[in-house]
């Protein structure tokens, strides 16, 4: 269950918590991709020998239609709402050409192909992901307090 969607068998009253948790997982996956991009911002030799390509996580909405009605008590994953990680995509944009004749991977003219990662963009993305993560954490806390309150009745 690494895609972050609500696992099969989450009991009905706990499903709102599952929705918030799916948001936390999705944002953490986004942050993982950003960390990888920053760590490899100067990697000129990736796994296939070419410079590292910027990775991004693709998020997908999980249908919310049956969150209240329809879905059976331990129904499928679909229909509970929330978000899931659909996959990791690579940014197809061009590598950055940089003049650095001393670099071991430079061509005969002294140019090196650098990864298509912009540290500034990554930092901005990181802030957004962090803010979304915190929002999901707040929702999680709120739902938890409501469930606890309901149990005290």
């Amino acid at each position: 269950m690494s895609d972050g969607s609500i696992p099969i068998g989450v009991r009905r009253p706990m499903r709102p918590l599952g929705i918030a948790a799916s948001g936390l997982t999705a944002q953490r996956a986004r942050i993982d991709a950003i960390l990888s991009n920053i760590a490899n911002a100067e990697t000129t030799r990736g796994v296939d020998g070419t410079p590292y390509r910027r990775k991004s996580v693709e998020l997908q909405e999980v249908s919310f239609q049956e969150a209240f009605e329809g879905a059976t008590e331990t129904g499928g994953v679909e229909g509970f709402g929330g978000v899931r990680v659909a996959g990791v995509t690579e940014d197809p944009s061009d590598f950055i050409l940089q003049y650095d004749p001393k670099h071991p991977d430079s061509d005969e003219d002294g140019y090196v192909l650098m990864p298509n990662v912009s540290i500034e963009d990554e930092m901005v993305d990181m802030m957004t992901a962090k803010r979304h993560f915190e929002a999901n954490a707040s929702v999680f806390e709120a739902i938890k307090s409501m469930l606890r309150r309901a149990a005290q009745l």
Binding site: A26, V83, A129, S138, A142, I143, M146, A150, Q152, L153
Partner: protein, 93 residues
């Protein structure tokens, strides 16, 4: 006798309805917030069609969240009082 306290035409029933409404509202908020970073998120696209920016407004969602939690807490407290009344009326004569 009890139906006057917790029957379907009493304030108790409305309080129970309130709890359900709040928890459903919070579930919707959870769904929107969890999809705040999702491109092509249907509800955000609807908002874009209605003239708002096509993005989940996190601040507004947080305000509605607090609103719903407080409503829930209030309804739960009032409901608890009713159940206490019922309990003590059963125990004492």
């Amino acid at each position: 006798m009890l139906s006057r306290l917790i029957g379907s035409d009493t304030a108790t029933a409305q309080l129970k309805e309130g709890l359900t409404t709040s928890s459903r509202a919070v579930t919707s908020i959870a769904h929107r917030v969890s999809n705040a970073g999702t491109p092509d998120f249907a509800e955000a696209l609807d908002a874009a069609a209605a003239g708002n920016e096509g993005e989940v407004d996190l601040e507004r969602e947080m305000v509605s969240l607090v609103d719903e939690v407080i409503r829930f807490e209030t309804a739960a407290s009032l409901l608890q009082k009713v159940y206490q009344q019922v309990r003590s009326s059963i125990r004492e004569r």
